[in-house]
């Protein structure tokens, strides 16, 4: 019936746009995923159907242990992130916390920085020859517990990902009308019981959504476990190393691993959706909660808790910026400060910097256009095809970056379409992975614009296409731009897909940081990271300017 609606709809601008976008999706998302699944069943010798890749995975302890490792560390990260993020959100929303604005900004900066600088900063601090390790053993003669492996991944990912829960729950707390809390009190409920009987149940769906985001990110993260995991191998690292080592021949085993990941994340995603749908309810606050003053002692404790965490989360940035100004001799730090590292990267890695901005801008242009069109089609022209497209745009949320990298590479390294090694394929990965941010915020603002505004324009004789560009698009702009900046920030920090897709000429800053860290050239890595962090902060400031200081919608 819905398809019938599309077929019978007028052959107007939107009809053709729908078809174009559907074609793009089939070529660049459906076809690659399809090739991923098919090649996971292909025998590299004979080219026939086989299940050996899957069998091999479940037979060898080395392989399936990666899955167990992934699950255990991801589960721990998720639980910890919720336990930190949710109480922190409640404290900053319900009570007066000094410097809340600064706290928010620092938390967002730590969340949006490149995923692996946390790992490598913590190695610089607590690794085998790290500053803290050396200090402790020299002055106290004690051995620091190792930061490599499970502990390190847990520490770094928790500190990086709890902001998701924090921001989500803060947003949900703002949508709770203060009268609900007052109603509980008027009925005789004391403030502590109130948190558990009213506030917590009301934000539970949001906590679950934030938890899912943490889970997906932790599961998909490649840079952190690669750098700090060492013997503790997780799935993305396994996929990467299998893929890289197999690159000479066929990549079928890596494809099977990637396919497993896709199935797994889909299941988790659907499970979470089911639970949240059962529990969700709509709320809107006429009078949101106002922060009240805490008694001196609890207030001091709350401040220590919050400042302590923010400090821990921002340490990687501070370390990176500090080390980028240290004097280097080759790759070894010597005493004193200099701009050597910056000089070296501009000499040797200048293309990485220009590549990042060029590819990033190209990707953002495409993201903005697609995001606006798809958001419009999905909200205003609902039919079978637009609904399917809308669902498909959720995929990047659940496909780990390295899996997407392999997927695209497998699909586009042979005719009919050969893109491997080009800038195109990196831009493509950026677009697919980061489109959802812009799409979400574009759709959100469209829901707030009354369709009658467009109808008014059309009734005055303006064609639907002209109406879109002259009226709707302009009204959507604030939402689109807010999303686009988030897309931009995450694009320039993208590593896990580009590390699989890059070649010498198409490396980006994140890739270069990664390779510099691998070859232990920490000075140059730090300088590159500082540039990236600076870009991120400037972009964030533009974001806050545009949205009038509103919170991030992820």
């Amino acid at each position: 019936m819905k398809l019938g609606k599309l077929l019978s709809s007028p052959r107007d601008f939107w009809f053709w746009t729908t078809l174009c976008i559907a074609a793009l999706f089939i070529v660049f998302l459906v076809y690659p995923l399809f090739s991923l699944f098919t090649s996971s069943f292909v025998d590299p010798e004979t080219g026939g159907f086989t299940l050996t890749h899957y069998a091999q995975f479940f037979k060898k302890r080395y392989y399936y242990r990666a899955l167990l490792n992934s699950m255990s560390v991801t589960a721990c990260v998720t639980v910890l992130a919720v336990l930190i993020g949710a109480p922190m959100a409640y404290l900053t929303s319900a009570f007066q916390i000094r410097g809340k604005r600064m706290v928010d900004v620092l938390i967002i900066v730590s969340m949006l920085s490149p995923p692996f600088i946390g790992a490598y900063s913590w190695i610089l601090l607590g690794g085998r020859s790290g500053v803290i390790t050396t200090f402790v053993s020299e002055y106290f003669g004690m051995q620091m517990p190792t930061i490599y492996g499970f502990t390190g991944i847990l520490l770094v990912l928790t500190l990086k990902l709890y902001p998701f829960v924090y921001l989500y729950v803060s947003g949900a707390l703002k949508s709770i009308d203060v009268s609900l809390s007052e109603a509980a009190e008027s009925l005789g409920c004391d403030p502590i019981k109130k948190v558990f009987t009213i506030i917590l149940p009301l934000v539970t769906p949001t906590v679950l959504a934030g938890g899912l985001l943490v889970f997906m990110n932790a599961l998909a993260d490649f840079g952190t476990p690669m750098l700090i995991g060492e013997g503790f191998v997780v799935m993305p690292v396994l996929i990467y190393s299998e893929f890289v080592s197999e690159m000479g021949g066929q990549a079928n085993f890596a494809a099977a691993l990637a396919a497993l990941m896709v199935v797994l994340t889909c299941l988790i995603f659907l499970g979470q959706k089911y639970v949240v749908n059962k529990k969700s309810f709509t709320m809107s606050a006429l009078r949101p909660m106002k922060p009240t003053t805490l008694a001196p002692v609890p207030s001091a404790l709350a401040h220590v808790f919050i400042y302590g965490l923010v400090f821990l989360s921002i340490i990687p940035q501070l370390t990176v910026i500090y080390t980028s100004f240290m004097k280097v001799n080759g790759v070894v730090f010597t005493s004193g400060y200099s701009l050597d590292s910056y000089r070296i990267i501009f000499d040797k890695l200048g293309t990485a910097i220009t590549n990042t901005y060029l590819y990033g801008l190209a990707a953002i242009l495409i993201i903005v256009l697609l995001g606006m069109f798809i958001a419009y089609l999905a909200t205003r022209r609902r039919n079978l095809i637009t609904s399917v497209i809308d669902t498909f745009t959720m995929f990047p949320y659940i496909i780990p970056g390295s899996v997407l990298g392999i997927t695209l590479l497998l699909a586009f390294n042979k005719p009919p379409i050969v893109l491997s090694g080009t800038a195109m394929i990196i831009i493509l990965a950026f677009v697919v992975r980061r489109l959802p941010y812009t799409l979400r915020s574009s759709a959100a603002i469209l829901y707030q614009i009354s369709p009658s505004v467009e109808e008014a324009s059309i009734s005055l004789g303006c064609s639907p296409m002209k109406t879109f560009f002259k009226v709707t698009a302009i009204m959507m702009l604030p939402g689109v731009m807010a999303g686009a900046i988030l897309s931009w920030i995450t694009v320039i920090n993208e590593l896990s897909a580009s590390v699989i897709l890059y070649t010498g000429g198409t490396r980006t800053m994140s890739v270069s940081i990664y390779t510099e860290v691998i070859r232990a050239s920490y000075g140059t890595a730090a300088a590159l990271s500082s540039i990236l962090t600076l870009t991120t902060i400037v972009s964030l400031m533009i974001f806050f300017k545009l949205t009038g200081g509103k919170e991030l919608a992820l």
Partner: protein
């Protein structure tokens, strides 16, 4: 147990702004007491001070003999109905109603009977297992009321509970609230800006303006003998005339005066006064005596006809929104058309006379 509420010299300030300068009022045990006034008059502020959600800067509030200033809201044993109902969206209707009982020493069995009873009283039994999202505004209102009453609060506080309902439901619900309140006999403080609602629902009304109570009294008393011009124009409509008072006679024009009998206080200063005449306190003059007025607009409203008037002489106080005369259709001989001139006399038993500073000069006008 229901209590009386004694508000003594309370002050409310937000920073440098004083919302309530010095307010005292006694609310009797079991009565339905309404705080009525335009928005920003401090009525909700006062209610929230009684509830414990607003601090009290000075003065005291007592429930019977107990000063409650320092008692936190959750220990005051109040029942509150919020403007937006504040139904907990994650709990079913029944769980919402049960919610407050878990903080009181009530047995499981008693909780069940009390909840059953109250659900029956407010007529929402059949929805008890539903989530609030799927309830209409009126049903949510009933849940909110049930939830507040079921805990047997000392006082029931209602903050504009009907303002989010449509007109028909509002009339229905105010009847229901009134009936339920009488049935459980609980001291109720009700806040509204709707004077019609206040008149039909209350035992007594306090009319507020800028943080000061203008008049406290039964609905009929306030309507019949408003304490000042503000109350006369805020509750119902009053047409204000310039007049002179001399020897018990109220003169509107050289050609028209009426004898006030003993209605005006004997100690009232004579001279320039303001006469407040409600639309229904006019009647058509048989002859050409009285006040000559031209019909500007005729509005037929079924039971009566409302006329907007323009008076020939400069008898009116300036800057009045509308000058109205309402003609009871049951006794009307003719409906007038715009442009016609009529002669009106006033009913000296009913009209009110105010001093130039706005205070009433009538016997029985108690503020």
């Amino acid at each position: 147990m229901s209590v009386s509420i004694h508000v003594e010299n309370v002050v409310k300030q937000y920073g440098p702004v004083t919302i309530i300068p010095d307010l005292s009022v006694d609310i009797r045990n079991g009565e339905f007491f309404t705080l009525l006034g335009p928005s920003g008059c401090g009525k909700t502020t006062l209610l929230r001070m009684i509830a414990g959600f607003n601090s009290i800067e000075a003065g005291t509030i007592r429930f019977d003999e107990q000063v409650i200033n320092a008692i936190p809201a959750h220990k005051r044993n109040i029942g509150m109905v919020f403007q937006n109902y504040a139904i907990f969206p994650h709990l079913t209707v029944r769980k919402n109603v049960e919610y407050g009982l878990q903080f009181r020493e009530v047995s499981k069995a008693e909780i069940a009977t009390r909840v059953d009873d109250i659900l029956k009283t407010v007529r929402i039994e059949e929805y008890q297992e539903r989530l609030p999202e799927r309830l209409s505004g009126g049903q949510q209102q009933r849940v909110a009321l049930a939830r507040a009453i079921v805990v047997h609060p000392s006082v029931l506080l209602m903050d504009e509970p009907l303002s989010n309902l449509d007109a028909k439901l509002r009339v229905e619900m105010r009847g229901a609230i009134r009936d339920i309140q009488k049935k459980v006999g609980i001291t109720t403080v009700y806040v509204t800006h709707d004077q019609e609602e206040a008149l039909c629902i209350s035992d007594r009304i306090a009319v507020m303006r800028e943080g000061v109570i203008q008049q406290i009294g039964a609905p009929q008393a306030i309507y019949a003998r408003p304490a000042n011009i503000f109350v006369a124009t805020f509750i119902g409509h009053s047409n204000l005339f310039k007049a002179t008072l001399a020897g018990g006679e109220l003169r509107f024009t050289p050609g028209y005066a009426c004898n006030m009998g003993g209605q005006v206080r004997p100690d009232a200063n004579e001279g320039q006064v303001v006469a407040g005449v409600r639309p229904e306190e006019f009647h058509l003059s048989d002859s050409a005596t009285g006040l000559a007025a031209r019909i500007v607009k005729t509005t037929f409203l079924g039971r009566y006809v409302n006329y907007e008037l323009a008076f020939a002489d400069a008898v009116l106080l300036p800057d009045q929104a509308a000058i109205e005369f309402s003609q009871d259709i049951g006794t009307a001989k003719k409906v007038f058309e715009p442009g016609e001139t009529i002669h009106l006399e006033v009913n000296p038993e009913k009209i009110n006379v105010f001093a130039e500073d706005g205070t009433s000069l009538m016997r029985g006008a108690v503020s």
